[in-house]
Amino acid sequence: MSDTPKIQMRGVHKAFGKKVVLNGIDLDVGVGESVVIIGGSGTGKSVTLKSILGLLTPDSGSIKIDGEDVIGMGTADRERVNQQVGMLFQGGALFDSLPVWENVAFGLLAQKRCTRHDAHDIAVEKLAMVGMDAAVADLMPSELSGGMQKRVGLARAIAADPKIIFFDEPTTGLDPIMADVINDLIVKVTRDVGATALSITHDMASARKIANRIAMLYEGKIIWQGPVEDIDNSGNAHVDQFIHGKADGPIQMAVRA
């Protein structure tokens, strides 16, 4: 069991019209590991995540979760797989028609794992795990600041005790202090629920903090991957340019004159 990776991607391709976004992704995420995919904007990070989640269907290649091929899976099977998955969306993606507690307990209610009566208590408990007060539970998402929405999103992602949690740019749009708070929370909650984590980000401070292993995505391929300690000695010019944020180097941004 331990040598079956939690997530395994092999030769995953995806193109939108003529634009090739994923050009043969190979990536393994081991059980309990935290892998961070770094890369510039438009390199296919989000598409990678959405392909694993089944929100997009790759053109070719295989994606396995617990050794089970999830591409082309029926709706019922997909729902079963998604029950062990949690996801923190970039903008939080909280349901703005529902109060905070119902957002947090949404997955549990959908899976009928608790009654509406118990859901409120569970939600308060999960909110406490991300350092939020019980009073927040009855507010609407629109009444919260961006950082608080991220935290509620995190509480929602962990509410159903997922085996895998995905983080989509968890620190984007936050001030550096709140970003660090979120990073700490991510490390803490993934450890607490014992989940495997796969994140995508372009924030190196965040990547260094939450990753066991880092993979760099460039032009639709993983061009380098290794333990987080090796990131400064990767010997890869692309990685060096990215982590130091230099405009000069092998990565040329498509800047229109």
């Binding site: 959405k50 989640l53 089944g54 929100l55 709706t75 729902e79 998604n82 029950q83 998955v85 949690g86 996801m87 969306f89 970039q90 903008g91 993606a93 909280l94 349901f95 703005d96 949404f106 997955g107 959908a110 899976q111 929602r156 159903a160 995905f166």
Partner: protein, 257 residues
């Protein structure tokens, strides 16, 4: 460019859209009849679509009835057929103006709000979030709205019929000096159950069209605020056009039967 090529491209795009719409319709309907059901959401949509549309539908109906009485008086008095006014008002309202005017008004109100709401959920990734929380968005978002539309439109139109006939009565009695009891007697004598029923069948079809168009355009919107704006426009315009087209087809079906 070859003109045939341009025609072919438009034709293919039309077929693709029709196919997508048919698939969407089939999925929406099939989810509406398979569990799990969301009675709370259906109820909330019924209140939104039915109850909160009452003022706008009522106002439309009362003025339509009043104008109808006034206009037919002008026309009919030229050949001394004023007695037919009650008859004309009640038949026009129940068979035609009740369902069509209510349908068009509610298309503006509900079609737009559904498209904007679901479209915003699409661009803020809330629909993706539903999927990751083991909830099928077609079942959770689309099916309840279609069911609510199908159920509430006939009720709305029945109320519009009554209010419309009352509007005609007001003008006939208080402005044109008709005898109240004669007018009501004339209204009632010529009315058959089929007149009302055909209008209610139309109403159910229009309710289906309005909610389907709102959901379809919202669900497939992309590209931020502009995309949601476009989806809203398309939802209202397509719903109105489809209402008028299907109105003719339905009328012909009832008429030639």
């Amino acid at each position: 460019m070859n003109p045939l090529q341009a025609i072919g491209r438009v034709f293919l795009a039309f077929l693709a859209t029709t196919g997508r719409l048919m698939t969407f319709t089939g999925l929406g309907l099939s989810h509406a009849v398979r569990p799990p059901f969301y009675p709370r959401i259906v109820l909330r949509q019924m209140i939104d679509i039915g109850y909160y549309s009452l003022p706008v539908v009522g106002l439309t109906a009362v003025f339509a009835g009043m104008v109808l009485a006034l206009q037919s008086y002008t026309g009919f008095s030229r050949f001394s057929a004023e007695g037919a006014i009650a008859n004309v008002v009640v038949l026009s309202i129940t068979r035609e103006l009740g369902p069509v005017l209510a349908g068009l008004m509610v298309a503006g109100r509900i079609g737009a709000s559904l498209a904007a709401e679901i479209g915003t959920m699409r661009v803020t990734e809330q629909i993706d979030a539903l999927t990751t929380l083991s909830t099928n968005p077609m079942k959770y978002l689309v099916a309840p709205r279609i069911v609510a539309g199908l159920a509430m439109f006939p009720i709305l139109v029945l109320i519009a019929d009554i209010i419309g006939v009352f509007g005609g009565y007001l003008v006939a009695v208080y402005k044109l000096g008709f005898n109240p009891s004669n007018y009501l007697q004339n209204t009632w004598d010529f009315l058959t159950a089929e007149d009302v029923n055909s209008g209610l069948v139309k109403a159910a079809v229009f309710g289906f069209i309005v909610t389907l168009m709102g959901c379809y355009h919202g669900y497939n919107s992309k590209g931020g605020a502009q995309g949601v704006g476009r989806a809203t426009t398309n939802a209202v315009v397509s719903a109105c056009i489809l209402i008028l087209c299907s109105d003719y087809i339905l009328t012909e079906m009832f008429f030639t039967k």
